[in-house]
Assembly symmetry: C2
Homo-oligomer: 130 residues x 2
Amino acid sequence: MAKKNIEGTICAVDFAFRRIGGKYKGRILWYLHQYGVLRYGELRRSIKDITTKMLTQTLRELEEDGLVHREVFQSMPPRVEYSLTDSSKQLIPFIDHLRQWGDKQMAKENIPVIKSSLSCIITEEEQAEK
Amino acid sequence: MAKKNIEGTICAVDFAFRRIGGKYKGRILWYLHQYGVLRYGELRRSIKDITTKMLTQTLRELEEDGLVHREVFQSMPPRVEYSLTDSSKQLIPFIDHLRQWGDKQMAKENIPVIKSSLSCIITEEEQAEK
DNA sequence: CCGCATCCGAAGGGATACTG
DNA sequence: CAGTATCCCTTCGGATGCGG
């Protein structure tokens, strides 16, 4: 006895994982944290193998859930900037610790380790050099 | 200059999310933390709508990744117990943090809130009462 | 009690081409 | 630059039935 189960309600752990789960959400939030503000194209280059379809779709979901802020600048060419919200900023410590745990695990298992936690990011200038 | 990108390597954030992502992994780890040790059937009843296929499959993945310990007792009827490993125990504080964030969000958005963080668990006795 | 095997539908995600 | 639109394939996950 003691513990009671409630029909149809959602567990908070489950709820949270649904919000930030998915293939790219963690990285997007982390990169936005690292840089404060990123444009659409910057995000696309950062997450090397993402397609525009998935990037747009994922950003829309994050926006709907109040995890990213989207700001459009009506100029030519157009410019759209993404940043974290107060809500998602509270998730950063969690993601950071998770990242550290990942680093340790990758070292233990001899998975080719990246040089720094920021190495996923590729800058526009570097991209241009190609 | 500055940030360097390495071809083909995995970002630690991405790595970690792949390990504990998926529909049920977060809840399984959390429940195992709450109870220390759970049998197969107890886990199945705790995660109300999981099928045996998904439960077995998810537990195997967690075991392969060193996140759960599986112990078989050769008796009649058989008995199999699951528990956390040292590696996964290190994740608990962060899952707990994530859970608290989830609780707050659910309150803000008026999503029917569960009574306690343990309410996902249904005991064997309760199940038997049906 | 603790699974495994099979079938099947739903959803996630990639490639490519195109637009304001 | 910042997306849309379409097609298609793969993976995830549910339902059911059987087995040691």
